[in-house]
Amino acid sequence: MVPLNEAENLGRSVCSSKSAKKANRAKPIPEVFLVRLDDDRISVDRMDHAERREMANLATIRGQGRGNGSKDLRGWALLSVNHAAANGRTVVASPLPDNPYHADICLNLPESGERRERQKEYSVDLAARAYWENPP
């Protein structure tokens, strides 16, 4: 896999229940970029290195492994590596055995009482920079 460059696009896949309100879940809202308190990395895919259909298949498989019940792919919140890596964040390529396009946005937040608040602040910053793309 080629090294990361600033201009390439990262995609945060959004999956939700079939009956969930599509209007809310098919938008790059901050919740898309909010991770658990003990998690410092946001899992994304490097979108410019494969066809969208292949990326959709990977995201669908991943979505079905999360939470309760069946989850459908709603789309991706897309943003550039440059934007993802702003404000003290970093981006690292982290290929997985079943997903060579995997990467992480690292928040680099220290353990502290303010950590959750800073996670939320970052989620808004990332959402403000992101745009939406529907699956093929």
Partner: protein, 182 residues
């Protein structure tokens, strides 16, 4: 630049829709047989539709999104349950509705959603410039405000959601957001 984004949309939509209605109505009248009862009925229908359309396009932007946003709050329990999120209390719902009413002059339609921490999110994002504002209402009656403008992000927490800065919410209605988000 931000001021233009928050203030020009309603006028743009109103003038566009009124012009379109005015252009199409006469063409429809010409195609009818003058003097027939059907024609007069059709004219009356067109006049009614025209007045209805004019009323709708002259409504302030508040009428465009407030109803939907309030409905989203009413349905927030279902959304939280489907996403396996913690339940959301009545105080958060009341405060979310209060925020929506206060911000209802904003031309930007907010997204109302359940958060994984059991809060209600009211999120505004500019469609043109890189600016966004999130208000999270929690079950203790407090609120967090988070914003990102031109690459800079900040946050503020309020133990009591009624202490949310009114000026900030009014800024969403057309005043320059940058004045309040320094």
């Amino acid at each position: 630049m931000i001021m233009q984004t928050f203030s020009r949309e309603p006028d743009f939509h109103c003038s566009f829709n009124l012009k379109r209605e005015a252009r199409f109505a006469p063409a429809a009248v010409k195609s009818q047989n003058v003097g027939s009862g059907a024609f007069q009925t059709r004219v009356a229908e067109l006049q009614t539709n025209s007045e209805s359309l004019r009323d709708r396009t002259q409504q302030p932007m508040v009428m465009r999104w407030l109803k939907d946003a309030l409905e989203n709050v009413d349905q927030i329990d279902q959304e939280a349950e489907e996403e396996d999120y913690p339940p959301i209390g009545d105080v958060a719902k009341r405060n979310a509705k209060s925020v929506l009413f206060t911000a209802c002059q904003s031309p930007l339609e907010p997204h109302v959603y359940a958060s994984m921490d059991g809060e209600i999110g009211v999120y505004f994002k500019s469609p043109v410039v890189q600016a966004a504002l999130l208000i999270l209402l929690n079950n203790d009656g407090g609120a967090g405000v988070y914003w990102s403008v031109s690459g800079k992000s900040k946050r503020q927490h309020y133990d009591d959601a009624s202490e949310l800065p009114i000026d900030l919410l009014h800024a969403l209605g057309g005043l320059p957001l940058s004045q309040f988000l320094e």
